[in-house]
């Protein structure tokens, strides 16, 4: 892991991702900590994400992964440390400067959070017309293009309540892309979906990956982490315990907690049974 005082190439050469020069680092965490009251959820995290890179953040519930990406666009405020976006420090930003930063960072929520009073088209176009001063028709034209890109051109005039979960999340991705952000953050984008709708959302994300946009994806979707991501970041207890290429992470995880986590995620039934047996031994009860 990189130390903040040595942002040199060698420390990041461990990863195959193109982190060779500091100038193409899109997001950099330096000794970032976050507490909610007395409860510290992020412990001095260092992390660099290269421009155009696709990073999957995995870890058990409560490990701080959602908080980690919410810190990037200031949905949560830092307790200490610094986050640089394209080499620019962001810690003290407020008002207009913060709003400007946020328009460069798309955010996709677990619960979609589409504007309930607007149809799909206006959900996508609203920020362009009301934040960026575009003419309504021009904004809608761009929104139409994006809805087409996520395969929902025929749902433009449906309200969120009239769309399936998968469709809502695809509209939400279109909405996050409407300001042409250089970075897009996903907070468990498929966790609230019925299983048969996960694929359509992953497909849109796959098409987005390696199109030049930087993607940081908090996910329990191991197929995404394995097949699409450039790098897997494993978090537990508010710390990054392991970072590796997907192949390496899934076949030979180094950290014991990463190993345990993968066992539980990949073989949920077997690992639960094993745990039950272990517990039975300890309690002296026959399994």
């Amino acid at each position: 892991m990189q130390h903040p005082s040595s942002p040199t190439a060698d420390s990041s050469a461990v990863f195959s991702s193109p982190l060779s020069t500091p100038s193409n680092v899109a997001v950099e965490f330096r000794q970032v900590s976050k507490s909610f009251g007395p409860h510290q959820v992020i412990h001095q995290v260092d992390l660099r994400v290269a421009a155009g890179e696709v990073v999957a953040v995995c870890g058990p519930s409560g490990s701080g992964k959602s908080t980690l990406i919410r810190l990037i666009n200031h949905l949560e405020t830092l307790s200490s440390g610094e986050i640089l976006i394209h080499q620019q420090p962001t810690a003290g930003l407020s008002g207009k400067a913060l709003r400007q930063l946020r328009t460069h960072i798309g955010f996709v929520f677990q619960q979609f959070n589409l504007y309930a009073h607007l149809d799909a088209l206006d959900n996508v176009s609203l920020a362009l017309s009301k934040v960026h001063g575009w003419k309504v028709e021009a904004a809608r034209n761009k929104a139409r293009e994006l809805l087409e890109r996520v395969g929902l051109a025929d749902r433009a005039h449906h309200f969120p309540a009239q769309l399936s979960g998968g469709q809502q999340q695809r509209v939400a991705i279109a909405r996050a892309l409407v300001t042409d952000p250089s970075i897009i953050l996903f907070d468990e984008p498929t966790s609230a979906l019925d299983p048969e709708m996960i694929g359509e959302v992953l497909l849109v994300m796959q098409e987005l990956a390696h199109s030049g946009i930087t993607m940081i994806v908090v996910t329990h979707e191991m197929s995404f982490a394995r097949e699409i991501a450039d790098r897997v970041v494993f978090m537990d207890g508010g710390e990054i315990l392991e970072q590796a290429e997907p192949e390496q992470f899934f076949t030979q995880p180094a950290h014991p907690r990463a190993q345990r986590f993968l066992q539980k995620v990949l073989f949920p039934l077997r690992s639960a049974q094993e745990q039950l047996i272990k517990k039975g031994d300890v309690d002296g009860v026959a399994p």
């Binding site: 400007q100 946020r102 955010f107 959070n113 504007y115 934040v131 009239q162 399936s164 909405r175």
Partner: protein, 261 residues
């Protein structure tokens, strides 16, 4: 005593003139009071949402003062106490006859009674409207705010384009009820000698003792005004998306069933 209804005692001649004048006066003061209440509600909401304790403290004091005291007492206060504090030149000016301030059927809005009634009704209703709008805003899920903030919306744009459209739609029924209350409560302005509908009906009663017919007509006119106002407010008020296009929901469902994307 046998029922012997004589509608001509209310619906002809001088009594009819009074009924028409009273009905339109009630309509005028309702419109003026509603406009004032709406403007005040927006101002109070802005003050409450502005950072800082002073604004929020002022709004809290305002709401508890106007919600917890009788409207009749408030009207009496404005008319008999506060109005007298105005500079004498103002009061003389308002007391004069101003042809440009006369509305149809010879009702002037530039009179102490009309101004005090409008002022009292507006201030009183704003306290209730504010809390109803606030309840509507509170009903909008936090995720809507996060989505808008993450897209770079300012606090004002967030309120104007995301929270208010949803909050007002959620709270529209109680808000409609509050405007109807304002209309009905204008009858209390009889207490300051304001010649609105209730005042004029009482006048008929003392003129020819047609109490039953008079109050029956008055009640019917309040009912008519309430029904029309309620219908207009619901018809042209904000709607939740499901109410807006029920047919679209049906189309979407039948469509989705055939080719789930």
């Amino acid at each position: 005593m046998a029922w012997h209804l004589d509608w001509a005692g209310v619906l002809t001649g001088q009594p009819l003139q009074w009924v028409i004048s009273g009905f339109l006066t009630t309509l005028y003061v309702t419109l003026a009071g509603s406009v004032l209440a709406t403007v005040l509600t927006v101002a109070l909401l802005a003050l409450r949402l502005t950072p800082g304790k002073v604004g929020r403290g002022f709004v809290a004091a305002y709401v508890s003062l106007f919600r917890n005291t009788p409207l009749l007492v408030q009207l009496l206060f404005w008319y008999f106490a506060a109005y007298g504090v105005l500079p004498q030149t103002w009061r003389f000016y308002i007391g004069d006859v101003h042809p440009w301030a006369v509305l149809p059927v010879n009702v002037s809005w530039l009179t102490p009674e009309f101004l005090c009634a409008t002022w009292g009704l507006g201030l009183f209703s704003a306290a209730f409207l504010l809390e109803e709008v606030q309840a509507g805003l509170n009903s909008v899920p936090a995720g809507q705010t996060e989505a808008a903030l993450s897209q770079g919306f300012s606090r004002w744009a967030l309120l104007r384009y995301v929270l208010l459209p949803q909050g007002l739609a959620n709270a529209w029924q109680p808000i409609t009820g509050q405007y109807l209350n304002l209309m009905k409560l204008s009858s209390l302005a009889t207490g300051i000698g304001f010649s609105e509908l209730t005042y004029q009906i009482s006048r008929i009663e003392s003129y020819n003792a047609h109490a039953l017919e008079g109050f029956a007509v008055g009640t019917a006119l309040y009912l008519l005004l309430g029904l029309v106002m309620g219908w207009l407010l619901v018809a042209f008020g904000p709607k939740r998306p499901r109410e807006k296009k029920p047919w679209l929901l049906a189309v979407a469902k039948s469509h989705g069933g055939q080719n789930g994307v």
